[in-house]
Structure formats: structure tokens, C-alpha cells
């Protein structure tokens, strides 16, 4: 019974989480903590921490975590399936129409107007991650005393490697993690 309940709860989460992973968190909280009372709010906040700390989409991470804690491997599979099923169907439909009509002149004009916006959205996401990395705060509360020089150095080196030497981005992300951790453990701490 709990499996079915979880499956339908996460279908609703998947269907209504418009606008990225963080939009899913209040929806999961509503379903799991408030409506079904399957978790306490403390357990739920641990879930968010872990979901943010590990790679992968936040909503997949949270549905896996909830599924595992409440119903083991079966729970993981059903929660995750529920979470992605609505968007899978919707995106498949959108993809079908996009590839059918994208070469039509009028559609081209409309799509071209969306591209500058997407570039801006990616840029904003990049800036907020940079702020978190350099100041451990957002753009508005950043102050120069809190500037973290190790992260600034890593950012500069990474950017040069990417632009001048076309280094693989995955190597950059993992490399900055390893290099930074070594610097902090050996020198700073």
C-alpha cells in the first residue's frame, strides 16, 4: 500500500514541479510530511541537505532518498519512476513537435527570440554558483572580507584551462574538488 501511495505522491510532484529542482522541494514536503505524514520535518531537512550535496538532479535525489528510507529498493524505483513519468511523457510530446516544425520559418523566428533568454538564464545560474564558491553567500550579501582566495584561484585556473587548452569540463569539476580539498587540508587548516 505504501508503495502505491508513494508512487502517486511522486507523480504529483513530477507533474507540478515547474522550473527546476528547487521547485520540487516544497511539493515533496507537502506530500510526504504534511499530507501523508510519512516523515518528520527534521528527517526531511536532512534529506534536502543530502540531495544538495550529491550529484544529480535534486528531485531525483530526494525521491530516491524518500523511497529508500520508507520502502527500500522497491520504494526507490517507484518514487523515481513516479517523479519522472509525467515530464517524460510531456517532453517526448514537445520533442516530437519541435523536430517536426523547427525548420518552419515562423517557428524559427519565435525560437530565435528564446535563445538570448536561455543564455541569460545560464549566466545567472553561473554567477550565483560563483558567488557561493567565492563568498559562501549570494550576490547581495557578499562582502569583500569574506572572499575565499583558494576558490578564486581555482576558478581562474579552471577558466584558463577551459578557454585556452579546451580541457575536459568533467576533469575540471573533479580536479577542482580534489585540488581544493588538498590545499585546504594540507595548508589552510
Amino acid at each position: 500500500m505504501i508503495l502505491l501511495k508513494l508512487f502517486f505522491a511522486f507523480i504529483q510532484v513530477g507533474l507540478f514541479s515547474v522550473g527546476g529542482g528547487y521547485a520540487a522541494i516544497p511539493l515533496i514536503q507537502d506530500q510526504i510530511v504534511n499530507i501523508h505524514g510519512l516523515m518528520t520535518i527534521e528527517e526531511f531537512s536532512d534529506l534536502i541537505t543530502v540531495a544538495e550535496m550529491t550529484p544529480g538532479p535534486i528531485s531525483i535525489n530526494s525521491s530516491t532518498f524518500v523511497g529508500m528510507r520508507l520502502a527500500g529498493v522497491g520504494g526507490v524505483l517507484l518514487c523515481t519512476l513516479g517523479c519522472i513519468l509525467p515530464s517524460f511523457c510531456i517532453c517526448l510530446t514537445l520533442a516530437h513537435f519541435y523536430y517536426k516544425y523547427r525548420t518552419v520559418g515562423g517557428v524559427q523566428t519565435v525560437l530565435a527570440a528564446l535563445r538570448p533568454a536561455v543564455v541569460a538564464l545560464i549566466a545567472s545560474a553561473g554567477l550565483s554558483i560563483l558567488m557561493l564558491g567565492l563568498f559562501q553567500s549570494d550576490l547581495f550579501s557578499a562582502s569583500i572580507e569574506n572572499l575565499r582566495f583558494v576558490e578564486l584561484g581555482l576558478f581562474a585556473v579552471s577558466l584558463v584551462l577551459l578557454r585556452k587548452f579546451k580541457t575536459n569540463p568533467i576533469a575540471i569539476i573533479l580536479g577542482s574538488g580534489v585540488a581544493g580539498t588538498l590545499i585546504y587540508t594540507l595548508i589552510v587548516i
Binding site: 550529484p55 544529480g56 535563445r115
Partner: protein, 189 residues
């Protein structure tokens, strides 16, 4: 047949690798996908990648999963979508399942915290690299409207905290208006 199997395997493998590196939200994976599928494998055109991003942002559900559905569909139809989504969610599911069993140790581990903090520098560098290239191409269109839209959209999302969804809808309306004006110009009175 063999070629198709190779393509599906590459699709799965690349989604798996990219998903393993998405610390910090959906736009990280978009930057990584652009590098992988546009620059390295040359499966997609740059404009197409931006269109796919706009579509994934407008549909409900996790952005990386949505993007995998569309890219998978483009490369190998519905089977491609399923394979790409599996690649994206498999590793996060395994990692979270394991961590959920002993999450207290993980959450309070000093090295994990440092590694996650410093990795942001590398992630930000990857996003900046991609954004520089994309912004250059928007400027190359030499359309003042697009350049202006990009700047305004950046200010709106970054400083005024306007939601991504609203920015995309607004640009969609601008695109449709642009199309209507264009058609009217062409039809003689």
C-alpha cells in the same frame, strides 16, 4: 544495427558521466551537455541545444531528465529517450540509496564539506566558459533586439529574482510579436 547500438551506448555513457558531475542544479548539466553534444560529438547544433534548454525549462520536472528525454529522442527515438534517462538517473539513484543508509556520517564529514565547497569554483568556470561562447554568438546575430533581451533577461533573473519561467514566457511573446510584424511587412497592402 551495430551503429545504432553504438550510438545508444555512447548516449547512455555520456549521460551517465554528465549526471555524475551535476553538482548545483540543472544549468550545470546544460553547460556540460553543450560541450559534449555540440562541441565534442557534434550531434546537435548550438541553436538546437538552446531550444532544447528552453523547452526543458518550460516543461515540469527535473531539467536534466527533460533534456535527456529530448536529446535521446533526437538521436534514437523513444528508445533513445529511455536509454538517455536511465543514464541520467542511474548513478544518483545508486549514490543516494547507499548514502541514505548512513547519512549522518556523510553529512558531518569535514572533507566532504570542503570538497563540495571548492568544487563550486570549477563548476562556475565551466558555466562561464559556455556562457562566453553563447553570448558571443548572440552578439554575432547583430540584432539589437536579441542583445538587449539577453542583457535585460540577465538583470531580471540575477538582480530582480524574476523566475526563469516568466522570462521565457515573456521572450516567447516577444518572439511571436516579432513574427507577426515580420509577416505584416511582407504582405503588401
Amino acid at each position: 544495427m551495430n551503429e545504432r547500438r553504438n550510438k545508444l551506448w555512447t548516449l547512455f555513457k555520456s549521460m551517465f558521466m554528465l549526471s555524475a558531475c551535476t553538482f548545483g542544479g540543472g544549468f550545470v548539466i546544460v553547460s556540460l551537455m553543450k560541450k559534449k553534444y555540440v562541441e565534442e560529438l557534434k550531434w546537435l547544433e548550438e541553436d538546437e541545444m538552446l531550444d532544447v534548454t528552453a523547452i526543458t525549462q518550460s516543461a515540469p520536472g527535473p531539467l536534466p531528465v527533460n533534456a535527456s528525454v529530448i536529446i535521446g529522442y533526437r538521436m534514437a527515438g523513444i528508445v533513445g529517450s529511455v536509454v538517455a534517462v536511465l543514464g541520467t538517473i542511474l548513478l544518483p539513484m545508486i549514490i543516494i540509496s547507499v548514502i541514505s543508509l548512513f547519512y549522518n556520517q556523510f553529512r558531518t564529514n569535514k572533507y566532504v564539506a570542503v570538497a563540495l565547497q571548492v568544487m563550486r569554483a570549477g563548476v562556475a568556470a565551466v558555466i562561464f566558459d559556455v556562457v562566453i561562447n553563447l553570448a558571443k554568438n548572440v552578439c554575432k546575430t547583430k540584432r539589437v533586439l536579441y542583445i538587449l533581451m539577453m542583457i535585460v533577461a540577465f538583470i531580471c533573473t540575477c538582480l530582480l529574482k524574476v523566475s526563469a519561467m516568466l522570462v521565457i514566457i515573456t521572450c516567447l511573446i516577444i518572439g511571436i510579436t516579432d513574427l507577426l510584424l515580420e509577416t505584416r511587412k511582407k504582405t503588401p497592402h
